[in-house]
Amino acid sequence: MVIAFWTLAALTLGAAAMIIVVRNLLHAVLFLILSFIGVAGLYITLSADFVAVAQILIYAGAIAVLMIFAVMLTPRSSRNNAGNFLQLPALVLSGLIAAGAAIVAYETEWREADRGSFDTTAAQIGDALLSPFVLPFEIASVLLVAAMIGAIVLVRED
């Protein structure tokens, strides 16, 4: 378990670092996908099987394809990224955010769950979505339908 955690963490963080380092936009997207898969592996070590598979289905499957579309529709996306004057401020800002997250994570007293892992997370998530959290769930679906209809209305020609 410990070996798996450190391997996956190294994979995720390494891929995330490579997203910034590589110049080619498409390579950055591919590293992003690798990073998503690493996060899915971390979910598996937490025995959250549904979330892990959903992570692959949604992030590595759908979001990545969306990004590929976005990159391919960008004019001159084949031109590699050049450095620009925002590098240093971006580095400082992301360093501050990372430091803040690290300090909060270190200072928090984490409670350990005294129960074991759930047998079937999918059923638990389904129950939770449809009984206590039904209102946010429905609001999210209404929002998505509205976005979908809006997109169709925007691109309709007639």
Binding site: F50, A64, V65, A122
Partner: protein
């Protein structure tokens, strides 16, 4: 089941004997897990390897039969050695790589495209106790694997640095996004009906109620079959590699064994999808008690090849869709039908569980209702969105479709 380890009817026997032996020898649980996992993986990989070789022959022979020609019949008896001859030819060929290609991604794509194809076999139950990883979310796992194939194909198309390859891979992405939705919604019906997402749980459901799910979910089977034909890039929907439009699509620049890998992964994917359909709709290893006589995994392989035959049949008989027709088919025909099917199943399951009805009475009614509604819906939807059939068209169809006025008839 008999418990002699050499009894080939249940391949679980030698494994359970091995586990007992290891436990007696005092090996820790972790190592037993690793050893049995490796053994199962070797078994599955052996099946995949043999299938990938045999399927070349089966596919070419059956298509030959469909198209009234012979297919490979010179190398070895009935041409059985043809796949080996093909493989030797491919290995001998020079693996060309364009100078402008993105070298690393170009080489990586045909290798990693095998990963989802092989992983799909891990969650399939081959027999009552024969499943490598019995995931609770098996159906979702298979769908997730199917969605990642897109990225490998895109990697191949992009790295080739060829406009036909890029066009082909963009077509694949557009098509897979479209066809994922009806497939997912069709499987939602199955999952709702069986009440579990685990593949062995779904087989257990069919065992418990003594019936295959195809009798309750004909519409879901049809939608999933057509959707997976598109996801597999097989002929009625192989616009990704349409020879007549974009030469060979995403693998145009691949030669030698790299092309061979793409060719093999297509066959392995076809087998994987056939296995999923056989598990979900045809009972997997469970065959109305026949599995007590013949080992379940042989029945399962038989069902896989029965479904695979349908795919070959499609390939041999149907012409290729145009890309807009394919998209319209997914969005206007399959998707509404899949939504209606999911709604119907939800109502049925609600009625069944809420009023606590007897399964022996309810299930036949559901079967009849679903079959009737499937027929009615397909015909009604086809009528609604399709153009009416004209016996004597007034002008050529192609002109009308692209809305070009006919040239004025020349003055006499």
């Amino acid at each position: 089941m008999l418990s002699n380890w050499y009894d080939f009817r249940d391949l679980g026997n030698p494994v359970s004997r091995l586990i007992e032996g290891l436990e007696d020898a005092g090996v820790s649980d972790g190592w037993i897990y690793v050893i049995t996992g490796l053994l199962g993986a070797i078994g599955i990989l052996t099946f995949i390897g043999i299938a990938a070789v045999i399927n070349i022959w089966i596919e070419r022979r059956v298509i030959g039969r469909v198209q009234i020609r012979r297919g490979p019949n010179r190398v070895g008896p009935f041409g059985l050695l043809q796949p080996i001859a093909d493989a030797i030819k491919l290995i001998q060929k020079e693996a060309l790589q364009p100078k402008v290609a993105d070298g690393f991604v170009f080489t990586l794509a045909p290798i990693v495209i095998f990963v989802p194809a092989i992983l799909a076999f891990a969650v399939l139950p081959w027999g009552e106790q024969m499943v490598l990883a019995d995931l609770n979310v098996g159906v979702l796992f298979i769908l997730a694997l199917g969605s990642t194939t897109t990225i490998m194909i895109f990697m191949a198309g992009y790295a080739s640095n060829n406009k036909y390859a890029l066009l082909g891979s963009m077509r694949v992405i557009a098509m897979l996004i479209s066809y994922e939705l009806p497939g997912v919604l069709a499987l939602l019906g199955v999952v709702l009906f069986a009440g579990t997402m685990s593949l062995s749980g779904i087989v257990g459901f069919q065992d418990f109620y003594w019936s295959w799910l195809i009798f309750f979910q004909p519409l879901a089977l049809l939608i999933f079959l057509l959707g997976s034909t598109a996801e597999l890039n097989r002929t009625p929907a192989d616009i990704a590699e349409a020879e007549s439009e974009i030469v060979a699509g995403f693998h145009i620049e691949y030669s030698g064994m790299k092309f061979g890998l793409f060719y093999a992964v297509e066959l392995v994917n076809a087998i994987a999808v056939s296995a999923v359909i056989a598990t979900l709709f045809l009972g997997g290893w469970w065959t109305f008690g026949l599995e007590n006589v013949i080992p379940g995994w042989i029945l399962f392989i038989g069902k896989i090849y029965a479904v695979y035959f349908i795919f070959i049949w499609f390939r041999g008989t149907l012409p290729r869709f145009r890309i807009d027709q394919l998209m319209a088919f997914a969005w206007k025909f399959l998707l509404p039908l899949a939504i209606v099917n999911a709604l119907l199943v939800a109502v049925e399951v609600f009625v069944w569980t809420e009023y606590d009805l007897n399964a022996g009475v309810v299930l036949p009614i559901f079967g009849v209702v679903n079959f009737a509604l499937a027929g009615v819906l397909i015909v009604a939807f086809g009528r609604m969105i399709g153009a009416a059939y004209e016996r004597y068209p007034k002008q050529p169809m192609m002109y009308r479709d692209i809305d070009v006025p006919l040239p004025e008839p020349a003055p006499a």
